[in-house]
């Protein structure tokens, strides 16, 4: 077995792959495979080899490779090899799943920040997709914060939201109404033209809130309608006149 591979190594590699890089990888694989057959922890090592091989070869190439080896080498343990290949694939799949779960966790950690951008004014930049879990979390946090800071105005910026469907719209409407019940005003900004069109078609109406073109005009407007006491005192002292 080992000899059969080593003797025919050049020839086999030539048939297995076309490009030089791939040839080198297959050669490494075959040499290590031949070596692994006689070792003690054969199963583990072969599985590891297949895993490495799958980093550069797809399933198609692998199957073709194993079939070729089977036809060229007498007594090639075809079924056993396939078993290893399947196990290696399963291992890769599990790794990917773990990674996906981790990424999801990271995404969840990117919770929405609530920024006190001016006295009595909170800014909430919404970014990404809002699923029901995240929406719920955010609404709770925002209401809590609005109440505890006694903010008069909450600016919600949706520049980073790629799409608003009826669910996200419905959630926003719910949240806006709740904020209004706390006695605060809401300014909505950052609706892109294509989203505006979609919202009108869907019949989602944000008529309960003030809408401004962008964050800049929202902030200007908010500061204008919420002149806070300390600023006014300050202004008079400096003799700037009454800002109202």
């Amino acid at each position: 077995m080992k000899e059969a591979i080593i003797y025919n190594l050049k020839e086999l590699v030539e048939d297995l792959a076309a490009s030089d890089d791939l040839k080198r990888e297959w050669e490494d694989f075959l040499v290590n495979l031949a070596d692994a057959f006689s070792s003690e922890d054969k199963d583990e090592r072969i599985k590891e080899l297949f895993k490495n091989l799958l980093d550069f070869a797809d399933a198609d190439a692998l199957i073709r490779g194993i079939e070729l080896l089977n036809s060229r080498i007498g007594g090639f343990p075809f079924i056993e090899m396939l078993k290893f290949a399947v196990e290696a694939l399963d291992g890769i799949r599990k790794e990917k799943e773990t990674r996906l779960r981790e990424l999801n966790d990271i995404l969840a950690e990117l919770a929405t920040p609530i920024i006190r951008i001016w006295q009595d004014i909170l800014l909430v930049p919404l970014i990404g997709t809002l699923d029901s879990h995240r929406a719920q979390n955010m609404a709770e946090k925002l209401l809590e914060r609005t109440a505890s800071t006694r903010a008069k105005i909450v600016i919600v910026d949706v520049t980073g939201v790629p799409m608003i469907d009826t669910i996200v719209g419905g959630f926003l409407i719910e949240m806006f109404n709740a904020i209004k019940l706390l006695g605060s005003d809401v300014i909505l900004t950052g609706i892109k033209p294509e989203i505006a069109h979609t919202l009108v078609k869907l019949g989602v109406d944000f008529n309960m809130v003030i809408i401004k073109r962008d964050l800049e005009s929202a902030l200007k407007y908010a500061i204008g309608i919420a002149p806070d006491k300390s600023d006014r005192k300050h202004g008079r002292k400096r003799g700037d006149g009454d800002e109202e």
Partner: protein
């Protein structure tokens, strides 16, 4: 109900989790972009797919969304076709559900189906209580 052959479609999406909604929307968006739809239409298509996926997840728990490119009408306009089907509870009064402002779910505006109809160029729905629901929508690409 509608017979579906998955091989006829360019994209087949299984909806089972809430995260599948975002995935299907993203896939639809990319597909529509590749088909050279305008930005406004891409957003509309993505929104419609999102609504359809949401309906499947919310009411039927599980179902499929199929997307394909085709040519429609005598002028052979390039069209995206989206088929959403499930074997869920079905809709009792289809006309009412499509008319807008009607919902059986608490946290919903009841605008979804009516909205989808307005977002797309054509809209077809079949539903049978206890058997499931199938919605087919199309959007034509407008010549620039």
């Amino acid at each position: 109900m509608i017979e579906v052959n998955p091989q006829d479609y360019d994209i087949v999406l299984k909806i089972k989790d809430e995260s599948d909604i975002a995935v299907s929307r993203q896939m639809a968006k990319n597909f529509a972009q590749k088909m050279n739809f305008s930005l406004a239409d891409v957003t509309k298509i993505a929104t419609a797919v999102s609504e359809l996926a949401r309906n499947i997840y919310r009411y039927a728990k599980e179902g499929y969304i199929y997307i394909r490119e085709k040519e429609a009408g005598p002028e052979k306009a390039i069209t995206i076709e989206i088929l959403a089907c499930d074997e869920g509870p079905g809709i009792e009064n289809v006309e009412l559900a499509v008319s807008g402002g009607y919902t059986t779910s608490e946290r919903s505006l009841g605008l979804g189906l009516a909205g989808i109809r307005r977002l797309m160029d054509s809209f077809h729905i079949e539903s049978e209580v206890g058997k499931g629901t199938a919605v087919i929508v199309e959007k034509r690409r407008h010549a620039y």
